[in-house]
Symmetry: C2
Subunit: 168 residues, 2 copies
Amino acid sequence: MALEGRNVDTAKLELANRLFFRLYQCANMLHKTGTRAVETEGLTTQQWAVLGALSRERVQHGMSVGELARYLMVSRQNLAGLLSRMERDGHLTIGPNGRDRRSRVVTMTATGRRVWQQRALPKIRAYYENILTDFSVNDLSHTLHYLLKILDNMGRIDAEQLQAAART
Amino acid sequence: MALEGRNVDTAKLELANRLFFRLYQCANMLHKTGTRAVETEGLTTQQWAVLGALSRERVQHGMSVGELARYLMVSRQNLAGLLSRMERDGHLTIGPNGRDRRSRVVTMTATGRRVWQQRALPKIRAYYENILTDFSVNDLSHTLHYLLKILDNMGRIDAEQLQAAART
DNA sequence: TTCTTTAGGACAATATGTTGTCGTATATTA
DNA sequence: TAATATACGACAACATATTGTCCTAAAGAA
């Protein structure tokens, strides 16, 4: 039994190793091919993630910088640079928040919405369909489920690491 | 039937959208939590990928820069910076190739191997186990299978995009 | 033996991502 | 009201990633 257990662990580690290597490659290829898919619009995958977040119905009135950083799981400092480039390009505006005067509200501009809906979305849909041709709806939901599970655990580890660092 | 088909497509697009968003988040969290896991060793997830590639038995005699770039799926220019930092840190050396004098061979140093095997690997294993606690061997191989499928299609799209650009 | 391809150095511009720190204004809570 | 927490700007340093261009040297094919 002990031996069996160790073999399972070894198998798991070997699989885990391959899995993370492929995840690493996937991440790079996503940015490379994804950015290429929308480069005519002057966008990148990161900017497309921001526009995707802002285009949701529930955020018609915008999101604060902090909310957006938490939603996208990136640092505030990184997001600041991203947002300033997108403001420069006219895709969004950063205005004051009436309720909380420390906070600023990020909103899509009419131009940004037009670029997103009329030019970027069709290309993004084509990109999705191109990559997921041989995926059934079932395959997709399984993959999504696994990614969510990994993400959950990474979030937990992130919190643990932050706590460990705080104790120092 | 046509209506059914469109609903399936809509469902697929919605799932695809969520899937890629989660993939994007996963990529960021992988680099964040992964790098934190090995930061005591002065490593990053990218450097761990390089060491992982070089530590394989079949590359005891090293790999050329181009081979490594293709294996990791990163650009030559990016890899050059990575390798020079790792050479600076003493983890690897870049020497001449006896057979092909254009090519240079990247090899792990004894120090690099020691850091990798004795200090990094235990932490990486702990990291894997921490993230994949609630994954069965079956879950792992399914996730790996889906990632490989996505990666295959991304590779195909990459080639198509390069071809399209070449026609311009 | 030329011609073409391949390998890689060197450099630049740009975008993305992290951490850390300092400072200020504003909310919130005790 | 006074202490504390939060939101964010403004920097800096660093690593990672892309693209593009120009160059040289060497390998391989016609």
